[in-house]
Subunit: 343 residues, 2 copies
Amino acid sequence: MELNERMKTILAAVVHSYFTTAEPVSSSIIAQKYHLNLSTATIRHEMYLLEKNDYLWQPHTSSGRIPTDKGYRFYVDNLMVKNYLQEKEKREIIQIYKKSKEFEEAMKMTSQLLSKLTDNIGVVLAPVIYNNIVKEIQFVPVGYNRILTVIVTDAGLVCQKIVNVSGEINKDRLNYLSNFINSKLAEKDINITNLNNILLDELEKIISLQERFNYVYNFLEECFNIRYSENKVYLDGRINLMKHPEFKETDKLNYILSLIEEENILAATIRGYLGFRKTKIIIGKESKLKEMQNCSLVTSEYSIKGKSAGAIGILGPTRMDYPRMISITEYISDKLSEILSEF
Amino acid sequence: MELNERMKTILAAVVHSYFTTAEPVSSSIIAQKYHLNLSTATIRHEMYLLEKNDYLWQPHTSSGRIPTDKGYRFYVDNLMVKNYLQEKEKREIIQIYKKSKEFEEAMKMTSQLLSKLTDNIGVVLAPVIYNNIVKEIQFVPVGYNRILTVIVTDAGLVCQKIVNVSGEINKDRLNYLSNFINSKLAEKDINITNLNNILLDELEKIISLQERFNYVYNFLEECFNIRYSENKVYLDGRINLMKHPEFKETDKLNYILSLIEEENILAATIRGYLGFRKTKIIIGKESKLKEMQNCSLVTSEYSIKGKSAGAIGILGPTRMDYPRMISITEYISDKLSEILSEF
DNA sequence: ATTAGCACTCTCCCTATGAGAGTGCTAATA
DNA sequence: TATTAGCACTCTCATAGGGAGAGTGCTAAT
């Protein structure tokens, strides 16, 4: 069924009122607050139709209406008016970012910013590296028999890993290895996911049979074995959940808390949305995760030097101020892109 | 007032029963479950005295009794029977640790182990480094104008920091700097907290006036400027809180969640307890933090190569199985010490 | 097509009530 | 003198009833 203009107006009014008060919205409230010049009976009739078409629902027969996930979706796709951040707010965000000089710090600040500005949970997915080209590899001996491997990618991301070696690998040997590897890296673009395969193949040609089965080979294998699946997630503002009446009952809270606890799952979810559109909105049951039933997730990709790198977002109850959530998320992702590109 | 033997027995019984059922303990329950060969009236009388002396309290006049913080404290200090982990459990812990080959991984696993074994929140305070001696400093150029500074301490801890340099610092220059610094470090023990002062003083003597006010000097200043206050904390099992009836009401939960959210505060608290005893137990209001009112914290220090490094612990409701919490925390801290010393 | 009017439904809050659990006190007992 | 049986008392908790209020759906009138 196609919604007529009046139904759209009423749906938007219900979404707005419900967001503001967290109370089911009655026909009389719509009539009073939104000046539609319609009687409550007419509004009631339209709401009845909206309910029949799954845009609204009632907690019980004689209560006001609440938007369904479908109702929110229609609102987000067709009805909502874009929100623009105030210049003052923009300045504040920029001001805060000026303090962050390190990568880790920038990630943390971003999640804090998101949670403070939205009163929801701020989520930052660290840059995914599996599509990065390796530019440079360095070996730094630290202490007695440990070697710090530093991998620098084309996006300027730095992966580090400390590897224990059973025997001693002397400095000349290390230099030889790193020179060889870096010359190969200069010759052709090697994706970080292929690092292990390609480089070990190349190395096999020059490493003597003897060494191939000893610690040098093992050492390198471990160095290149980077975990792509483990995508760090920065979360902030968990406590904000308590501010929302939908999480007053502990069992509702339980769901979302378990989602937040399993950062890997959250990371995987967000990662799954990467690459389609800059901004992505997932409302309630649209997500396959049952823990997200009562929640919405607004994510926005950020980039490093123009190349999509990761995503940030906010997580909160489906009853949220979508226009504002979107504008905040998008603005912050833009600023984060700038910061990270400068690093 | 000195507690007589019978009062002690009854107090221990109340603590045990309350831990098991989470219900206020009545005189008849004590009589039934703990076979003291006393009438309920007698038990009631002793409980009355225990209450008058602040070891027990009643939610209301005609309900059973619950231990107070003081009651738990007396129990922990004088009454509880040490718990020993089963060999099977020990083996499982060791088995899990075998998988962890990196520092970060070991930290995460430890917090997971703690939370899973105790059904509480697992807390791991990363090694504090402010009492470490600096053994070695390395500069690794990464990308165009960024330099990775690697500081290795006597405990084998590795601090890293990426510093952006405005101008270019060539490799020879970097080598010269690191050679100079490392020779100074070999000469005398320099604590990491003094790094900035001492080394910059030394460097002033050899760096030309011109350079002192340019990027080389600034660069080094930034390299040595390490944040000691930021002590990373690894938390796991937040969701476990929901299992405990004391956190059924959201306002109770609010308190502890806000504590967990502010990891810095938690870190500072635990850090404050370091250096006195291996194991430390903080019960409810014994902590100055109001967020910890309904919680107890059991911490145990771990060490690296015999030198106290950090602490692990569990955080849960005051109603907890103290003997078991203590044995788990202590055992895991021992194992963690072994693992970290091997790294 | 819209609306006024009205019966109906459901929640929420308040009160009352009774059962049950547990206590404190007292007088009897070993 | 220490212990205990007995009992009145207190408080919680679950249940039910009732009235107010909010909001609806339906119908007949405009």
